[in-house]
């Protein structure tokens, strides 16, 4: 897919909302516009001149209350490629135990007139709270166990690009630590809006209550869960978010729920494997599977990630100039 495929310019008002706080609440049309715009940027990022001016004069602050390397770098690169002034602020989790600091920080940053805040925070809903207090756009880069919308968008773009068609009718198995995963929640919202069939595969202790009421089929073993699956999304076992014991041991977890070639036999022979990273090799995924370039989309996810974040920034705070105008 190249940029020139888009003969119709994408309308300026590509996104109806001021903030991107989650996938829940978006319509299929909202999502498709973001996916289409992301595709444009995937192409643009493969050019030798990657710099655009859509965000020239805009100030983007990446406000990370939780450690992150890939998401923060991805957002930073996205902003810089669009010509924004990007500032990174990492606030250690220990110094924000008091929540007043969250609003205080928001008010302080707000006084500097940024155009967009990219926020990650360990508490669910904290990005909503912050968005209420500032005058600029806010992108949720992951809040607690709530949502991580850009990850779900980039997963969708990656799948679309590899398969060459939409997500409708695909069987997607989301495997592993769903209880503690914001990626899983955003993906469940997005994939069900786009018409995919969803399965959750995990021990019951890692499946949050009421998931079946969100249109997800529940499976407690990998063999039935992966049967005829087209896409397998592996999740990281988030031991840092766990309070208490959810699985008896890593050894047992890997044996029962770790994805290896043996368990993969149950899936569709062309099934594709995804992982939001960082991977725990030998915990939820075997290296052989993770590194199989025919089946694993893991590296593409990272590439597409930058384009998706460019699309989101553009959609929320871009100027009129469009990326395709430059290359045509």
């Amino acid at each position: 897919m190249t940029i020139n495929q888009y003969s119709e310019p994408i309308p300026k008002t590509v996104f109806r909302f001021r903030h991107l706080l989650g996938i829940e609440g978006l319509l299929r049309d909202d999502i498709e516009r973001l996916l289409d715009l992301s595709d444009v940027y995937v192409g643009a990022n493969r050019q030798s001149d990657k710099k655009h001016s859509n965000l020239r004069g805009r100030t983007q602050i990446n406000l990370f209350f939780e450690n992150s390397t890939r998401t923060r770098t991805s957002f930073e690169l996205a902003g810089k490629r669009l010509g924004a002034d990007v500032i990174n602020m990492s606030v250690g989790t220990s110094s924000i135990k008091k929540g007043e600091t969250l609003i205080d920080t928001a008010m302080t940053l707000n006084a500097m007139h940024p155009d967009v805040l990219v926020v990650r925070h360990p508490d669910s809903g904290s990005v909503h709270l912050l968005a209420e207090k500032v005058n600029c756009s806010v992108i949720n880069a992951g809040d607690g166990t709530h949502e991580h919308p850009t990850q779900a968008l980039l997963d969708a773009v990656t799948i679309r690009r590899r398969l060459g068609h939409g997500l409708e009718g695909l069987t997607v198995a989301i495997c592993g630590d769903i209880a503690h995963s914001r990626v899983a929640r955003s993906n469940i919202h997005l994939l069900s809006i786009m018409g995919a069939r969803l399965r959750a595969v995990a021990p019951p202790t890692l499946i949050p209550a009421g998931l079946d009421r969100m249109g997800v089929e529940l499976h407690y073993d990998m063999e039935t869960g992966l049967k005829d699956a087209d896409i397998i999304m592996m999740l990281r076992l988030q031991t840092e978010r766990m309070k208490g014991s959810y699985v008896p041991s890593i050894r047992e977890y890997y044996r029962l729920y770790g994805l290896d070639n043996d368990k993969l036999k149950a899936a569709n022979p062309n099934a594709l494997i995804m992982h939001p990273g960082p991977m725990n090799r030998g915990v939820e995924i075997d290296s052989e599977v993770a590194d199989d370039i025919d089946r694993s989309l893991i590296r593409e996810q990272v590439e597409v990630g930058v384009a998706v974040r460019m699309a989101c920034l553009e959609a929320l705070v871009g100027t009129q100039s469009q990326p395709w105008a430059k290359n045509n």
């Binding site: 007043e100 669910s124 709530h146 949502e147 209550a209 009421g210 969100m214």
Partner: protein
Amino acid sequence: MTGTVYKNARLLDPENSMDATGALLVKDGYIVDSGPHVFVDAVQDDWEVVDCGGKCLAPGLIDMRVTTGEPGNEHLETLATVSQAAAAGGVTNMVCLPNTYPVVDDVALLEFVERRAAEVGLISVHSYAAATKGTRGEEMSEVGLLHEAGALGFTDGSKAISNAMVMRRLLSYATVFDALIIQHPEVRELVGSGVMSEGETATRLGLTGIPAAAEVMMIERDIRLVEITHGRYHASRVTTAQSVEAIAEAKAAGLPVTCDTAPHYFALNEGAVNDYRTFAKVSPPLRTEEDRRAVLAGIADGTIDAIASDHTPRDQDSKRLPFDQAAHGVVGLETMLTITLEAVHNGGLTMLDAIAALTQRPARILGLNAGTLAKGAAADLLIFDPDIASQIDAAKFQSKCKNSPFDGKPIQGRVLKTIRRGKTVFNHNAEEGPHPGRSAHA
């Protein structure tokens, strides 16, 4: 000393199942007579006559669960502000929880609170004492001495008495004094780091859920202990369908078990915390719609004895936080009557059942000579208009804290006058200032 006649009133007295137009006579702070038969013209000329204009006259409300900030957290609420809030809400008797700082677990502290409340003197303020020393859940507090000093019951406040042996001994020892043991029914281990009701909404919000079973399991355990000990047990804030069922069974078996709930548990469900509204974060959490209906039905059929406000003042700083970090609790003294009246208007409760749950039934559990309009009872009264429409405005609360989930809610009903021992302690018209053109009844 002369008396007062409240005439032309809709008398609501659950004690005698009376809902009739009539008059009530008060002398020296006590009710001398009441009912449709009272012949108003026969009273002496020097008596004060109050025309209620057909509005409701009920016993003053009895709130069996109030958190204050005195001693220790006076920035949240003092006994003066909480008394004013109570009077504005039609409450003439309230019982304060011992979870102040320090905790009320000895006689001196109990007497301090009672003395301070008496200095304010607006309404009758009673206290519970801590069930265990420091509410640590380990050693029994001095139940006998505290009972003698006037503690109306024993509770660890918003902490469950988790240890079954401690609970057994408390229930058993309390029988000596016929003292009431009040439980915050919750299995702590099942609550864990949960902040709202478990289920689809919690999963969507990415918040850790609390299973409904955590409540009923503790109630069922305690009922077993009541079977062994015959101690008087009260489950404070019953919020799930299963709990209502468990209490109903215990009552049917003749056990000395009672319970209460709070208005938010029958007026709201878990949906109220959507968008991370921390003002609806309470402990126990708001439950499902099915539970909400079961709680309302439980009040109507008498399984749930009392409605308590569960007034818990919290400042803005402790609420304007990410949901996980925000404090739980809502203020409720000033909305208890109107929120309950909503259930009456919607047909969920009859007027007399609602008033019974707010007055007579808690009075009986607490052993207070109140909650009735019968001759000889204290003249603790409430005059209210059940129909007048307005909107809840938290900014106008007398309470120091404004953390109400009902702010802005359209309501029907208003407290017009609160009378304690025959003396008017709250008068709506006086609060609002004179209204030219409005008839000056009540």
